[in-house]
């Protein structure tokens, strides 16, 4: 990893994983205090950032645009949510061992596929394996048939739509439109305690750091070069002896697993997971985070996920009507004016400022008193008068 990136990553990691939780432990009267609400909000943003990393690896590096990553996020979130529902036990509204929605739907026995989610070990494995294996199967079929470009994007969008329809059905025994909610404890710790939320936040921050290192490591290996090469010329990759399908499948599965883990961390912190997080719209929003932050850099994706959602939570409370306009404008702006995202735009601005400064410094040395007036005029670069 480049040294500068390592240092920056370290600073951000300490700020997010150490300083913020510590500030949260301060008494609310302290000027540096971070409220439970804010910490929880940041925790949610961090789960989004984990997902955005995987999406950037897939889109920004391999050039494969998925419009269906909400599905993998949902699979992880529902796997976690099912365990949390079972943890509620008979403390639910109907005081039945079954989740409340099953009582409403007159389901008398826990469906077979719910049973293993009593086990927390099984749940933790499912969070990784369910999105991973689903991504493997879907990606295998798509990439083996050489579905690429916009066709692949359309198929993933269809996937998001069909998954949304499936999860909405009450017959699926997954809570239908209302999803899974009213969680009480996570692995035995009460969710309404600030300490539990703080621990969840910390786990999320550390997972994000680990995910970042994983993705960066992949991009720095030879496999990472092959992945970028696929974006440039898939045919050339093929005739260089590599199988683009295998590499794309690998990246697709990694991004699916990251999305699933993000979802699993999302569910207990937000307290609810519904099909509304799975469909076409949230999946496209995820792409907007990466596009707005800057593709193909990893840190751009993290910045985008964090920034866009921060603005969203501010706008939806202060100017609720404005949010969708803003989101649409952001996407159009990203496409038309800053295709390389905030990161790219800032980089260009930075190099322009740098150029102007070095020019000025060069001129300042020439402007010394020993120079004649004529030299002074001549030494001005032609653009500086504009």
């Amino acid at each position: 990893m480049p040294k500068r990136e390592g240092v920056a990553l370290g600073i951000v990691a300490v700020a997010l994983a150490v300083v913020l939780p510590l500030c949260n432990m301060l008494p609310p009267t302290s000027p540096l205090a971070v409220s439970n609400f804010t910490l929880n909000l940041f925790g949610k943003f961090l789960t989004y950032a984990i997902l955005a990393l995987g999406l950037d690896l897939l889109w920004g590096y391999a050039g494969v645009l998925s419009l269906g990553h909400g599905v993998f996020f949902g699979l992880g979130a529902y796997a976690m949510g099912m365990h949390l529902m079972l943890e509620i036990g008979s403390k639910s509204v109907y005081q039945s061992a079954l989740p409340d929605f099953m009582v409403w739907n007159q389901v008398t026995a826990l469906p077979l596929f719910w049973q293993p989610f009593h086990s927390s070990v099984f749940t933790l494995a499912a969070i990784v394996l369910v999105p991973g294996l689903f991504g493997l199967a879907f990606g295998y079929l798509a990439f083996r048939s050489r579905i690429r470009g916009v066709y692949f994007s359309i198929i993933t969008q269809a996937l998001a739509l069909s998954a949304w329809l499936v999860f909405n059905r009450n017959e699926m025994n997954l809570g239908g439109t209302n999803g899974l909610a009213d969680f009480k404890t996570v692995f035995g710790f009460p969710l309404n305690q600030p300490g539990t939320q703080r621990a969840l936040y910390l786990v999320t921050a550390l997972t994000l750091a680990a995910a970042y290192l994983l993705c960066r490591w992949i991009t720095l290996t030879r496999a990472g070069k092959v992945i970028v090469a696929i974006r440039d010329s898939e045919t050339r990759v093929l005739f260089s002896g590599y199988s683009p399908a295998a590499y794309k499948l690998f990246v697709f599965v990694v991004s699916a697993v990251l999305a699933g883990v993000a979802g699993a961390l999302y569910a207990p912190q937000v307290g609810i997971i519904t099909p509304a997080k799975i469909g076409v719209l949230p999946s496209i929003e995820m792409v907007v985070w990466v596009a707005a932050g800057g593709r193909g850099t990893l840190y751009g994706a993290v910045l985008g996920a964090f920034g866009v959602n921060w603005i969203q939570s501010w706008l939806t409370t202060s100017y609720p009507d404005f949010w969708l306009l803003f989101l649409g404008g952001l996407f159009m702006g990203a496409v038309l004016f800053f295709p390389d995202g905030i990161v790219g735009a800032l980089g260009r601005l930075g190099s322009r400022v740098h150029r102007i400064l070095t020019k000025r410094r060069a001129r300042a040395t020439l402007d010394g008193p020993h120079l004649s007036q004529a030299t002074h005029v001549l030494s001005r670069p032609p653009s500086s008068d504009q």
């Binding site: 992949i218 290996t221 030879r222 496999a223 070069k225 092959v226 970028v228 090469a229 974006r231 440039d232 010329s233 045919t235 050339r236 990759v237 093929l238 005739f239 260089s240 002896g241 590599y242 199988s243 683009p244 295998a246 590499y247 690998f250």
Partner: protein
């Protein structure tokens, strides 16, 4: 040592929705041969290369590499691993990677799978080979530059270096390349063909029209009719 054939196509038919790009084509090339394939548009020249490199699978026929390697069940990347390199007409390089990385990815290796590529480290011997290849195609000074920043001609050279780094090592001319490998060239420029070709194959409507030394092919009346036909008509018009 008698060389034997390196590429052997028997009765190959490629059918694109009713259009026979290749029709019961028989074609073979000897080891260390430099063969030029010519023919009018739509004769099946590119399809022939596509079949050899695995891009197009024929409807019927046999495609054998070397003594007995059947190429039909293999995918493009597996065929490339056998040592069949392909250089495209328009330069095709990885524009977002450095010149060095472009050559690095094209080196022949025991495994080019994902998990092997995640573990592989750069070996000193490989670095030497890459440096040598870049030296020969005269891009050593631009090794750290992105390939997208190269000029059209430099990209062509880079791709020649990538198609076969050994190629670039031995020399510039196709003839010298053919000294220790077999080369199949698709060419339109007749002047160039005259310069380099020993053996020429003329394709027409998906089959071999005639084959032989360049002078013989040029004087063959069938070739004149289908391939150089227009020139003769033009000549007739003058008289």
């Amino acid at each position: 040592m008698t060389a034997g054939s390196i590429i052997y196509l028997e009765d190959v038919t490629v059918n694109f929705d009713g259009f026979k790009a290749l029709s019961r084509l028989n074609f073979f090339m000897d080891r260390r041969e430099l063969r030029v394939v010519i023919g009018p548009n739509g004769a099946g020249k590119t399809t022939l290369l596509d079949v050899v490199s695995g891009r197009v699978k024929p409807e019927s026929g046999r495609v054998i590499f070397g003594q007995s390697t059947d190429l039909l069940p293999l995918r493009e990347n597996q065929i490339a691993q056998l040592g069949i390199g392909r250089k495209f007409q328009t330069p095709s390089v990885f524009v977002n990677l450095t010149v060095w990385d472009n050559v690095e990815l094209s080196l022949r290796r025991a495994s080019k799978g994902v998990f092997a590529a995640l573990r592989q480290r750069d070996l000193a011997e490989e670095r030497e080979r890459i440096a040598h290849t870049l030296e020969t195609v005269q891009l050593a000074a631009k090794a750290e530059r992105k390939a997208g920043a190269l000029s059209h001609g430099e990209k062509q050279w880079l791709e020649i270096g990538m198609t076969d780094e050994e190629t670039a090592r031995t020399g510039e001319l196709l003839e010298t390349i053919a000294a220790d490998r077999s080369v199949l060239v698709i060419e339109h420029d007749m002047e160039f063909v005259r310069q380099i070709a020993r053996q020429v194959t003329v394709l027409h409507q998906g089959t071999v029209l005639c084959e032989g030394p360049v002078e013989q092919v040029q004087s063959d009346p069938r070739v004149l009719e289908v391939y150089l036909g227009r020139r003769r008509e033009a000549a007739d018009a003058v008289h």
